[in-house]
Protein backbone atom coordinates (compact mmCIF):
# COMPACT_ATOMS: atom_id res chain seq x y z
CA UNK A 1 0.00 0.00 0.00
CA UNK A 2 2.71 2.42 1.10
CA UNK A 3 4.90 1.40 -1.78
CA UNK A 4 2.21 2.00 -4.36
CA UNK A 5 2.88 4.75 -6.89
CA UNK A 6 1.83 8.36 -6.37
CA UNK A 7 -1.09 9.55 -8.46
CA UNK A 8 -0.65 12.63 -10.62
CA UNK A 9 -2.87 14.55 -8.19
CA UNK A 10 -0.58 13.54 -5.32
CA UNK A 11 2.49 14.79 -7.14
CA UNK A 12 0.80 18.05 -8.01
CA UNK A 13 -0.26 18.53 -4.38
CA UNK A 14 3.28 17.79 -3.18
CA UNK A 15 4.66 20.21 -5.75
CA UNK A 16 2.28 22.96 -4.61
CA UNK A 17 3.31 22.33 -0.99
CA UNK A 18 7.01 22.52 -1.83
CA UNK A 19 6.55 25.63 -3.97
CA UNK A 20 4.46 27.30 -1.27
CA UNK A 21 6.97 26.47 1.48
CA UNK A 22 9.93 27.71 -0.57
CA UNK A 23 8.31 30.95 -1.73
CA UNK A 24 7.00 31.68 1.78
CA UNK A 25 10.40 31.00 3.32
CA UNK A 26 12.27 33.28 0.92
CA UNK A 27 9.77 36.13 1.17
CA UNK A 28 9.59 35.89 4.96
CA UNK A 29 13.38 35.98 5.34
CA UNK A 30 13.54 39.05 3.10
CA UNK A 31 10.71 40.81 4.92
CA UNK A 32 11.65 39.86 8.47
CA UNK A 33 15.39 40.58 8.35
CA UNK A 34 15.07 44.37 8.45
CA UNK A 35 12.16 44.23 10.89
CA UNK A 36 13.94 41.80 13.23
CA UNK A 37 17.07 43.97 13.05
CA UNK A 38 15.02 47.01 13.97
CA UNK A 39 13.33 45.17 16.85
CA UNK A 40 16.71 43.93 18.12
CA UNK A 41 18.37 47.34 18.08
CA UNK A 42 15.65 49.92 18.76
CA UNK A 43 14.93 51.56 22.08
CA UNK A 44 11.50 52.66 20.84
CA UNK A 45 8.50 51.94 23.02
CA UNK A 46 6.51 50.83 19.96
CA UNK A 47 8.69 47.73 20.02
CA UNK A 48 6.58 45.72 22.46
CA UNK A 49 3.44 46.37 20.39
CA UNK A 50 5.13 45.18 17.20
CA UNK A 51 6.55 42.16 19.01
CA UNK A 52 3.10 41.23 20.32
CA UNK A 53 1.51 41.59 16.89
CA UNK A 54 4.26 39.50 15.30
CA UNK A 55 3.71 36.76 17.90
CA UNK A 56 -0.10 36.69 17.50
CA UNK A 57 -0.14 33.91 14.88
CA UNK A 58 1.52 31.65 17.49
CA UNK A 59 -1.54 31.69 19.71
CA UNK A 60 -4.45 32.40 17.36
CA UNK A 61 -6.31 29.47 15.85
CA UNK A 62 -5.36 29.24 12.15
CA UNK A 63 -9.04 29.61 11.30
CA UNK A 64 -9.08 33.09 12.86
CA UNK A 65 -6.10 34.18 10.78
CA UNK A 66 -7.67 32.60 7.72
CA UNK A 67 -11.07 34.13 8.36
CA UNK A 68 -9.80 37.72 8.62
CA UNK A 69 -7.56 37.21 5.64
CA UNK A 70 -10.59 36.00 3.70
CA UNK A 71 -12.54 39.13 4.65
CA UNK A 72 -9.55 41.32 3.85
CA UNK A 73 -8.89 39.76 0.46
CA UNK A 74 -12.55 39.32 -0.54
CA UNK A 75 -14.29 41.65 -3.01
CA UNK A 76 -15.49 43.90 -0.16
CA UNK A 77 -12.23 43.93 1.83
CA UNK A 78 -9.50 46.59 1.53
CA UNK A 79 -7.08 44.15 0.01
CA UNK A 80 -9.63 42.87 -2.50
CA UNK A 81 -10.71 46.35 -3.59
CA UNK A 82 -7.10 47.48 -3.86
CA UNK A 83 -6.34 44.49 -6.08
CA UNK A 84 -9.36 45.29 -8.25
CA UNK A 85 -8.25 48.91 -8.64
CA UNK A 86 -4.88 47.67 -9.83
CA UNK A 87 -6.72 45.42 -12.27
CA UNK A 88 -5.47 42.28 -10.52
CA UNK A 89 -7.58 39.28 -9.78
CA UNK A 90 -8.49 38.69 -6.15
CA UNK A 91 -5.89 36.90 -4.07
CA UNK A 92 -8.37 34.69 -2.29
CA UNK A 93 -8.58 31.20 -3.77
CA UNK A 94 -5.26 31.71 -5.56
CA UNK A 95 -1.68 30.67 -4.97
CA UNK A 96 -0.79 34.28 -4.14
CA UNK A 97 -3.38 34.21 -1.38
CA UNK A 98 -1.85 31.03 0.00
CA UNK A 99 1.56 32.68 0.09
CA UNK A 100 0.18 35.69 1.95
CA UNK A 101 -1.64 33.47 4.44
CA UNK A 102 1.39 31.25 5.00
CA UNK A 103 3.61 34.28 5.52
CA UNK A 104 1.30 35.61 8.21
CA UNK A 105 0.97 32.26 9.86
CA UNK A 106 4.71 31.44 9.86
CA UNK A 107 5.81 34.99 10.68
CA UNK A 108 6.73 34.35 14.35
CA UNK A 109 8.80 31.32 13.38
CA UNK A 110 11.07 33.58 11.35
CA UNK A 111 10.88 36.78 13.36
CA UNK A 112 11.80 35.33 16.73
CA UNK A 113 14.92 33.34 15.76
CA UNK A 114 16.18 36.32 13.73
CA UNK A 115 15.49 38.82 16.49
CA UNK A 116 17.14 36.57 19.10
CA UNK A 117 20.14 36.03 16.85
CA UNK A 118 20.55 39.77 16.22
CA UNK A 119 20.19 40.51 19.92
CA UNK A 120 22.84 37.90 20.72
CA UNK A 121 25.32 39.78 18.50
CA UNK A 122 25.51 42.36 21.29
CA UNK A 123 25.61 46.13 21.40
CA UNK A 124 29.30 46.20 22.38
CA UNK A 125 30.39 44.14 19.38
CA UNK A 126 28.61 46.53 17.03
CA UNK A 127 30.07 49.53 18.85
CA UNK A 128 33.53 48.03 18.44
CA UNK A 129 32.87 47.77 14.70
CA UNK A 130 31.74 51.41 14.66
CA UNK A 131 34.90 52.64 16.38
CA UNK A 132 36.91 50.64 13.85
CA UNK A 133 35.41 52.73 11.06
CA UNK A 134 32.46 50.62 9.90
CA UNK A 135 29.32 52.62 8.97
CA UNK A 136 25.90 51.18 9.92
CA UNK A 137 25.26 49.13 6.74
CA UNK A 138 28.81 47.79 6.91
CA UNK A 139 28.29 46.75 10.56
CA UNK A 140 25.13 44.94 9.54
CA UNK A 141 26.68 42.98 6.69
CA UNK A 142 30.17 42.32 8.07
CA UNK A 143 29.31 41.72 11.74
CA UNK A 144 25.62 41.22 12.45
CA UNK A 145 24.75 38.93 9.51
CA UNK A 146 27.67 36.50 9.91
CA UNK A 147 27.15 36.31 13.66
CA UNK A 148 23.42 35.70 13.21
CA UNK A 149 23.85 32.92 10.63
CA UNK A 150 22.57 30.18 12.91
CA UNK A 151 19.44 32.22 13.50
CA UNK A 152 18.93 32.41 9.73
CA UNK A 153 19.26 28.65 9.36
CA UNK A 154 16.72 28.12 12.14
CA UNK A 155 14.35 30.70 10.70
CA UNK A 156 14.56 29.26 7.19
CA UNK A 157 13.93 25.70 8.29
CA UNK A 158 11.12 26.58 10.65
CA UNK A 159 9.41 28.72 7.99
CA UNK A 160 9.73 25.95 5.42
CA UNK A 161 8.61 23.12 7.67
CA UNK A 162 5.85 25.08 9.34
CA UNK A 163 4.41 26.12 5.98
CA UNK A 164 4.63 22.55 4.74
CA UNK A 165 2.54 21.45 7.70
CA UNK A 166 0.04 24.28 7.53
CA UNK A 167 -3.60 23.35 7.16
CA UNK A 168 -6.17 25.72 8.64
CA UNK A 169 -5.23 28.99 6.99
CA UNK A 170 -4.86 27.35 3.59
CA UNK A 171 -8.25 25.70 3.91
CA UNK A 172 -9.90 28.99 4.86
CA UNK A 173 -8.52 31.20 2.13
CA UNK A 174 -7.33 28.82 -0.54
CA UNK A 175 -10.24 26.54 -0.63
CA UNK A 176 -9.28 23.21 -1.89
CA UNK A 177 -8.80 23.55 -5.63
CA UNK A 178 -6.83 20.59 -7.01
CA UNK A 179 -3.90 21.68 -9.15
CA UNK A 180 -4.03 25.27 -7.88
CA UNK A 181 -4.42 25.60 -4.17
CA UNK A 182 -4.63 22.05 -2.90
CA UNK A 183 -1.51 21.33 -0.84
CA UNK A 184 -0.37 17.89 0.31
CA UNK A 185 -1.67 18.53 3.81
CA UNK A 186 -5.15 19.20 2.44
CA UNK A 187 -4.97 16.27 0.04
CA UNK A 188 -4.31 14.03 3.06
CA UNK A 189 -7.39 15.43 4.76
CA UNK A 190 -9.48 14.74 1.65
CA UNK A 191 -8.17 11.18 1.34
CA UNK A 192 -8.83 10.45 4.99
CA UNK A 193 -12.33 11.86 4.77
CA UNK A 194 -13.02 9.64 1.75
CA UNK A 195 -11.68 6.64 3.74
CA UNK A 196 -8.84 6.26 1.23
CA UNK A 197 -6.29 5.47 3.94
CA UNK A 198 -3.73 4.05 1.52
CA UNK A 199 -3.41 7.29 -0.37
CA UNK A 200 -3.42 9.30 2.89
CA UNK A 201 -0.68 7.05 4.23
CA UNK A 202 1.42 7.53 1.11
CA UNK A 203 1.42 11.32 1.36
CA UNK A 204 1.73 11.33 5.15
CA UNK A 205 4.83 9.13 5.09
CA UNK A 206 6.32 11.34 2.41
CA UNK A 207 5.83 14.47 4.51
CA UNK A 208 6.98 12.73 7.69
CA UNK A 209 10.21 11.46 6.16
CA UNK A 210 10.87 14.68 4.30
CA UNK A 211 10.52 16.81 7.43
CA UNK A 212 12.56 14.37 9.51
CA UNK A 213 15.47 14.33 7.05
CA UNK A 214 15.33 18.11 6.83
CA UNK A 215 15.55 18.55 10.59
CA UNK A 216 18.37 15.99 10.91
CA UNK A 217 20.38 17.92 8.35
CA UNK A 218 19.75 21.18 10.18
CA UNK A 219 20.71 19.83 13.58
CA UNK A 220 23.85 18.28 12.09
CA UNK A 221 24.84 21.57 10.48
CA UNK A 222 24.16 23.45 13.68
CA UNK A 223 26.19 20.97 15.67
CA UNK A 224 29.07 21.65 13.40
CA UNK A 225 28.61 25.37 13.96
CA UNK A 226 29.04 24.40 17.61
CA UNK A 227 26.04 26.08 19.15
CA UNK A 228 22.47 24.98 19.64
CA UNK A 229 19.75 26.03 17.25
CA UNK A 230 18.29 29.35 18.17
CA UNK A 231 14.60 28.65 18.43
CA UNK A 232 12.16 31.13 19.88
Amino acid sequence: MIGSAYSVADLVALWISLKLATVTMVLLLLACTPLAWWLATTRSRVRVIIEAVAALPLVLPPTVVGFYLLLFLGPHGWGGRFAQQLGLQSLSFSFGGLVLGSMLYSLPFVMQPLQNAFQAVGQRTLEAAATLGAPPWDRFFSVALPLARRGFISAAVLAFAHTLGEFGVVLMIGGNIPGRTQTAAIAIFNYAEAMNYGAAQRLSVTLLMGCFVLLVIVYAVNRRLRNAVVIA
Binding site: A130, T131, L132, G133, A134, V143
Partner: protein, 358 residues
Protein backbone atom coordinates in the same frame (compact mmCIF):
# COMPACT_ATOMS: atom_id res chain seq x y z
CA UNK B 1 47.06 70.83 20.99
CA UNK B 2 44.05 70.11 23.13
CA UNK B 3 40.89 68.10 23.46
CA UNK B 4 38.07 70.44 24.38
CA UNK B 5 35.00 68.84 25.91
CA UNK B 6 31.76 70.36 27.17
CA UNK B 7 29.06 67.74 27.57
CA UNK B 8 25.89 67.19 29.56
CA UNK B 9 24.09 63.89 29.61
CA UNK B 10 21.15 62.98 31.83
CA UNK B 11 20.38 59.38 32.67
CA UNK B 12 17.72 58.08 34.99
CA UNK B 13 19.99 58.00 38.04
CA UNK B 14 23.04 59.79 36.76
CA UNK B 15 24.01 63.17 35.42
CA UNK B 16 27.21 63.83 33.50
CA UNK B 17 28.36 67.46 33.37
CA UNK B 18 31.87 67.98 32.13
CA UNK B 19 33.53 71.10 30.82
CA UNK B 20 37.23 70.52 30.53
CA UNK B 21 40.19 71.00 28.27
CA UNK B 22 42.57 68.06 28.21
CA UNK B 23 46.09 68.34 26.86
CA UNK B 24 46.21 66.41 23.59
CA UNK B 25 49.62 64.89 24.20
CA UNK B 26 50.99 62.14 26.36
CA UNK B 27 48.71 60.05 28.53
CA UNK B 28 45.75 61.63 30.31
CA UNK B 29 44.28 59.43 33.01
CA UNK B 30 40.57 59.68 33.78
CA UNK B 31 40.42 58.69 37.41
CA UNK B 32 37.46 58.11 39.70
CA UNK B 33 35.55 55.42 41.49
CA UNK B 34 33.10 53.28 39.55
CA UNK B 35 29.95 55.21 38.75
CA UNK B 36 31.79 58.54 38.59
CA UNK B 37 31.11 58.80 34.85
CA UNK B 38 34.52 57.94 33.41
CA UNK B 39 33.25 55.46 30.85
CA UNK B 40 30.29 57.66 29.92
CA UNK B 41 32.62 60.59 29.28
CA UNK B 42 34.86 58.37 27.14
CA UNK B 43 31.81 57.19 25.17
CA UNK B 44 30.84 60.82 24.57
CA UNK B 45 34.32 61.48 23.16
CA UNK B 46 33.95 58.49 20.83
CA UNK B 47 30.45 59.46 19.70
CA UNK B 48 28.96 56.30 21.21
CA UNK B 49 26.77 58.57 23.35
CA UNK B 50 25.15 61.67 22.04
CA UNK B 51 25.23 64.24 24.87
CA UNK B 52 22.89 67.19 24.60
CA UNK B 53 24.10 69.81 24.71
CA UNK B 54 27.58 68.73 23.77
CA UNK B 55 30.72 70.10 22.25
CA UNK B 56 33.77 67.99 21.49
CA UNK B 57 36.78 69.02 19.44
CA UNK B 58 40.31 67.75 19.01
CA UNK B 59 42.94 70.32 17.98
CA UNK B 60 40.22 72.54 16.57
CA UNK B 61 38.55 69.78 14.55
CA UNK B 62 34.94 69.77 15.72
CA UNK B 63 33.38 66.35 16.34
CA UNK B 64 30.23 67.65 17.92
CA UNK B 65 28.59 71.01 18.45
CA UNK B 66 25.04 72.35 18.32
CA UNK B 67 24.73 71.63 14.59
CA UNK B 68 27.10 68.76 13.86
CA UNK B 69 27.55 65.27 15.16
CA UNK B 70 30.31 63.19 13.65
CA UNK B 71 29.28 59.52 14.12
CA UNK B 72 31.80 57.16 15.76
CA UNK B 73 32.84 55.47 12.51
CA UNK B 74 34.02 58.80 11.12
CA UNK B 75 36.01 59.93 14.18
CA UNK B 76 39.74 59.24 13.80
CA UNK B 77 40.19 57.50 17.12
CA UNK B 78 40.89 54.07 18.50
CA UNK B 79 38.74 52.69 21.31
CA UNK B 80 39.61 49.80 23.60
CA UNK B 81 36.76 48.46 25.72
CA UNK B 82 36.94 46.89 29.18
CA UNK B 83 36.27 43.52 27.59
CA UNK B 84 38.29 42.88 24.45
CA UNK B 85 35.10 42.64 22.37
CA UNK B 86 36.77 40.72 19.56
CA UNK B 87 34.60 39.58 16.66
CA UNK B 88 33.96 35.89 17.39
CA UNK B 89 33.45 35.02 13.71
CA UNK B 90 36.93 36.21 12.75
CA UNK B 91 40.37 34.96 13.73
CA UNK B 92 42.96 37.27 15.28
CA UNK B 93 44.20 38.40 11.87
CA UNK B 94 40.65 39.12 10.72
CA UNK B 95 40.08 41.21 13.84
CA UNK B 96 43.30 43.15 13.33
CA UNK B 97 42.53 43.80 9.66
CA UNK B 98 38.91 44.82 10.30
CA UNK B 99 39.78 48.42 11.12
CA UNK B 100 42.89 48.53 8.94
CA UNK B 101 40.95 47.67 5.78
CA UNK B 102 38.53 50.52 6.43
CA UNK B 103 41.29 53.14 6.49
CA UNK B 104 42.25 54.54 3.07
CA UNK B 105 45.81 53.50 2.19
CA UNK B 106 46.91 57.15 2.04
CA UNK B 107 45.87 57.70 5.66
CA UNK B 108 47.65 54.68 7.14
CA UNK B 109 50.51 55.73 9.35
CA UNK B 110 51.42 52.40 10.89
CA UNK B 111 52.15 49.08 9.25
CA UNK B 112 50.45 45.78 10.10
CA UNK B 113 53.75 43.94 10.60
CA UNK B 114 55.05 46.70 12.86
CA UNK B 115 52.07 46.50 15.23
CA UNK B 116 52.08 42.70 15.23
CA UNK B 117 55.74 42.79 16.18
CA UNK B 118 55.64 45.30 19.01
CA UNK B 119 52.45 43.87 20.50
CA UNK B 120 53.94 40.37 20.28
CA UNK B 121 51.11 38.85 18.24
CA UNK B 122 53.00 36.93 15.56
CA UNK B 123 52.12 33.49 16.93
CA UNK B 124 48.45 34.28 17.50
CA UNK B 125 47.24 35.44 14.09
CA UNK B 126 45.37 32.29 13.11
CA UNK B 127 43.72 31.81 16.52
CA UNK B 128 40.04 32.46 17.10
CA UNK B 129 38.96 34.69 19.98
CA UNK B 130 37.86 31.74 22.12
CA UNK B 131 41.29 30.11 21.78
CA UNK B 132 43.07 33.10 23.33
CA UNK B 133 43.72 34.04 26.94
CA UNK B 134 42.19 37.22 28.37
CA UNK B 135 45.51 39.03 28.12
CA UNK B 136 46.06 37.96 24.52
CA UNK B 137 42.55 39.05 23.57
CA UNK B 138 43.11 42.48 25.09
CA UNK B 139 46.45 42.85 23.29
CA UNK B 140 44.69 42.13 20.01
CA UNK B 141 41.97 44.63 20.89
CA UNK B 142 44.62 47.30 21.50
CA UNK B 143 46.49 46.43 18.30
CA UNK B 144 43.20 46.43 16.36
CA UNK B 145 42.49 49.98 17.52
CA UNK B 146 46.07 51.14 16.86
CA UNK B 147 45.92 49.78 13.28
CA UNK B 148 43.23 52.30 12.34
CA UNK B 149 45.98 54.97 12.53
CA UNK B 150 43.94 57.00 15.02
CA UNK B 151 44.69 60.58 16.06
CA UNK B 152 43.81 59.67 19.63
CA UNK B 153 43.53 56.44 21.56
CA UNK B 154 40.79 55.89 24.17
CA UNK B 155 41.37 53.07 26.66
CA UNK B 156 38.49 52.16 28.97
CA UNK B 157 39.99 50.28 31.93
CA UNK B 158 41.79 47.86 29.60
CA UNK B 159 43.14 45.85 32.55
CA UNK B 160 40.10 45.70 34.80
CA UNK B 161 38.70 42.45 33.44
CA UNK B 162 42.06 40.65 33.65
CA UNK B 163 43.74 38.64 36.38
CA UNK B 164 46.98 39.88 37.96
CA UNK B 165 49.17 37.79 35.70
CA UNK B 166 47.54 39.08 32.52
CA UNK B 167 47.79 42.66 33.81
CA UNK B 168 51.50 42.26 34.34
CA UNK B 169 51.71 40.86 30.81
CA UNK B 170 49.95 43.84 29.21
CA UNK B 171 51.30 46.79 31.22
CA UNK B 172 54.68 46.91 29.46
CA UNK B 173 52.86 47.11 26.10
CA UNK B 174 50.67 49.91 27.40
CA UNK B 175 53.68 51.75 28.75
CA UNK B 176 55.42 51.59 25.40
CA UNK B 177 52.38 52.86 23.45
CA UNK B 178 52.87 56.64 24.01
CA UNK B 179 56.42 56.57 22.66
CA UNK B 180 55.52 54.25 19.79
CA UNK B 181 52.49 56.14 18.60
CA UNK B 182 53.12 59.76 19.58
CA UNK B 183 49.37 60.36 19.76
CA UNK B 184 47.41 61.43 22.83
CA UNK B 185 45.96 58.64 24.93
CA UNK B 186 43.02 58.92 27.32
CA UNK B 187 43.28 56.16 29.89
CA UNK B 188 40.32 55.40 32.15
CA UNK B 189 41.18 53.68 35.41
CA UNK B 190 40.25 53.52 39.05
CA UNK B 191 43.65 52.06 40.01
CA UNK B 192 46.15 54.77 40.97
CA UNK B 193 49.00 52.24 40.70
CA UNK B 194 48.28 51.78 36.99
CA UNK B 195 47.93 55.51 36.50
CA UNK B 196 51.25 56.37 38.11
CA UNK B 197 52.92 53.94 35.73
CA UNK B 198 51.46 55.26 32.49
CA UNK B 199 49.97 58.75 32.88
CA UNK B 200 51.37 62.27 32.57
CA UNK B 201 48.14 64.11 33.30
CA UNK B 202 45.16 63.22 35.38
CA UNK B 203 41.54 64.27 35.42
CA UNK B 204 39.70 63.34 38.61
CA UNK B 205 35.99 62.58 38.26
CA UNK B 206 33.36 62.55 40.97
CA UNK B 207 29.60 62.13 40.52
CA UNK B 208 29.61 62.93 36.82
CA UNK B 209 31.93 65.93 36.95
CA UNK B 210 35.66 66.57 36.53
CA UNK B 211 36.75 68.04 39.87
CA UNK B 212 40.42 68.56 39.00
CA UNK B 213 42.59 68.27 35.94
CA UNK B 214 46.33 68.80 35.64
CA UNK B 215 49.80 67.27 35.69
CA UNK B 216 49.80 63.98 37.59
CA UNK B 217 52.86 64.83 39.65
CA UNK B 218 51.29 68.00 41.04
CA UNK B 219 47.82 66.59 41.69
CA UNK B 220 49.03 63.46 43.49
CA UNK B 221 50.12 65.43 46.55
CA UNK B 222 47.39 68.08 46.72
CA UNK B 223 45.77 67.58 50.14
CA UNK B 224 42.36 68.92 49.07
CA UNK B 225 42.08 66.22 46.37
CA UNK B 226 41.20 62.58 47.01
CA UNK B 227 44.44 61.18 45.57
CA UNK B 228 46.53 62.19 48.59
CA UNK B 229 44.13 60.37 50.90
CA UNK B 230 44.08 57.01 49.14
CA UNK B 231 45.67 54.06 50.96
CA UNK B 232 48.21 53.90 48.17
CA UNK B 233 48.81 57.67 48.10
CA UNK B 234 52.30 58.70 47.15
CA UNK B 235 54.44 61.02 45.10
CA UNK B 236 56.42 60.79 41.91
CA UNK B 237 59.95 62.07 41.37
CA UNK B 238 61.90 62.56 38.20
CA UNK B 239 65.45 61.34 38.40
CA UNK B 240 68.44 60.03 36.51
CA UNK B 241 70.16 56.68 36.94
CA UNK B 242 73.50 57.63 38.47
CA UNK B 243 75.26 54.37 39.16
CA UNK B 244 74.84 50.61 39.35
CA UNK B 245 76.13 48.68 42.36
CA UNK B 246 76.92 45.16 41.22
CA UNK B 247 77.91 43.78 44.62
CA UNK B 248 74.68 44.66 46.42
CA UNK B 249 72.39 44.48 43.37
CA UNK B 250 71.39 48.11 43.66
CA UNK B 251 70.98 51.04 41.34
CA UNK B 252 71.29 54.65 42.45
CA UNK B 253 68.99 57.31 41.11
CA UNK B 254 69.79 60.94 41.69
CA UNK B 255 66.71 62.85 42.69
CA UNK B 256 66.66 66.51 43.67
CA UNK B 257 70.36 66.53 44.53
CA UNK B 258 70.20 63.38 46.63
CA UNK B 259 70.68 59.71 45.83
CA UNK B 260 68.11 57.01 46.23
CA UNK B 261 69.00 53.34 46.17
CA UNK B 262 66.66 50.82 44.63
CA UNK B 263 66.96 47.27 43.39
CA UNK B 264 69.16 46.78 40.35
CA UNK B 265 67.62 48.31 37.22
CA UNK B 266 68.24 47.41 33.62
CA UNK B 267 68.18 51.02 32.39
CA UNK B 268 71.68 52.39 31.64
CA UNK B 269 73.46 55.08 33.63
CA UNK B 270 72.18 58.48 32.53
CA UNK B 271 68.68 57.24 31.70
CA UNK B 272 65.82 59.42 32.89
CA UNK B 273 63.42 57.57 35.15
CA UNK B 274 60.39 58.23 37.26
CA UNK B 275 60.26 56.85 40.79
CA UNK B 276 57.23 56.44 42.95
CA UNK B 277 57.39 56.83 46.73
CA UNK B 278 54.41 55.68 48.76
CA UNK B 279 53.38 58.12 51.51
CA UNK B 280 53.23 55.31 54.07
CA UNK B 281 56.86 54.36 53.36
CA UNK B 282 58.12 57.79 54.43
CA UNK B 283 59.11 58.76 57.97
CA UNK B 284 60.39 62.15 59.11
CA UNK B 285 63.34 63.03 61.35
CA UNK B 286 64.71 66.34 62.59
CA UNK B 287 68.37 65.25 62.34
CA UNK B 288 70.03 63.14 59.66
CA UNK B 289 69.85 59.54 60.89
CA UNK B 290 73.21 58.00 61.67
CA UNK B 291 72.79 54.27 61.94
CA UNK B 292 69.68 53.01 60.29
CA UNK B 293 68.69 50.27 57.89
CA UNK B 294 66.97 52.98 55.90
CA UNK B 295 69.55 54.41 53.55
CA UNK B 296 67.35 56.65 51.44
CA UNK B 297 67.20 60.07 53.01
CA UNK B 298 66.04 63.30 51.39
CA UNK B 299 66.44 66.71 53.05
CA UNK B 300 63.58 69.16 52.67
CA UNK B 301 61.24 71.65 54.21
CA UNK B 302 57.66 71.07 55.35
CA UNK B 303 55.03 72.76 53.15
CA UNK B 304 51.95 71.91 55.17
CA UNK B 305 50.33 69.36 57.48
CA UNK B 306 46.76 68.22 56.87
CA UNK B 307 44.29 65.78 58.39
CA UNK B 308 43.97 62.38 56.78
CA UNK B 309 40.98 60.03 56.64
CA UNK B 310 42.22 58.15 59.68
CA UNK B 311 42.22 60.61 62.65
CA UNK B 312 45.43 58.96 63.92
CA UNK B 313 47.29 60.05 60.76
CA UNK B 314 48.49 63.30 59.27
CA UNK B 315 49.62 64.02 55.74
CA UNK B 316 52.79 66.06 55.50
CA UNK B 317 53.93 67.65 52.26
CA UNK B 318 57.66 68.21 52.05
CA UNK B 319 59.43 70.34 49.47
CA UNK B 320 62.49 68.46 48.19
CA UNK B 321 64.43 70.75 45.87
CA UNK B 322 61.27 71.94 44.12
CA UNK B 323 59.53 68.54 43.95
CA UNK B 324 56.91 67.48 46.45
CA UNK B 325 57.09 64.46 48.72
CA UNK B 326 54.04 63.15 50.53
CA UNK B 327 54.51 61.55 53.96
CA UNK B 328 51.84 59.83 56.03
CA UNK B 329 52.84 59.85 59.69
CA UNK B 330 50.96 59.59 62.96
CA UNK B 331 49.33 62.57 64.61
CA UNK B 332 51.43 61.74 67.69
CA UNK B 333 54.70 62.06 65.77
CA UNK B 334 53.58 65.39 64.34
CA UNK B 335 52.96 66.63 67.87
CA UNK B 336 56.17 65.19 69.37
CA UNK B 337 58.44 66.52 66.61
CA UNK B 338 56.56 69.78 66.33
CA UNK B 339 56.14 69.34 62.60
CA UNK B 340 54.70 72.45 61.00
CA UNK B 341 55.10 74.51 57.84
CA UNK B 342 58.64 75.72 57.27
CA UNK B 343 60.37 73.12 59.46
CA UNK B 344 63.52 71.57 58.00
CA UNK B 345 63.19 67.78 58.03
CA UNK B 346 64.92 64.65 56.80
CA UNK B 347 62.60 62.23 55.03
CA UNK B 348 63.62 58.60 55.38
CA UNK B 349 62.21 56.40 52.64
CA UNK B 350 61.79 52.72 53.24
CA UNK B 351 61.34 51.66 49.66
CA UNK B 352 61.37 53.26 46.27
CA UNK B 353 59.66 51.85 43.25
CA UNK B 354 60.65 52.71 39.74
CA UNK B 355 57.77 53.47 37.43
CA UNK B 356 58.93 52.38 34.05
CA UNK B 357 57.81 55.34 31.99
CA UNK B 358 60.13 58.25 31.45
Amino acid sequence: MSLAVKVSLARRDFQLDVACEFPASGVVALFGRSGAGKTTLLRCLAGLERPAPGRVSLNGEVWQDDHNFVPPHRRPLGYVFQEANLFPHLDARGNLEFGLRRVPAAKRRIRFEEVVEFMGLAGLLSHRADQLSGGQRQRIAIARAVLTSPQMLLLDEPLSSLDLESRAEILPYLESLPDRLSIPIIYVSHAISEITRVADHIAIMEAGAVVACGPLQALLTRPELPLAHLDEAGSIFNGVIAQHDVEFHLSYVSVAGARLALSRQSAPVGAQVRVRIDARDVSLALKPPELSSITNVLAGRVIDVTDDRDPAHRLVRVDIGGQQLLARITHRSVAQLGVSAGLAVFAQIKSVALTDRL
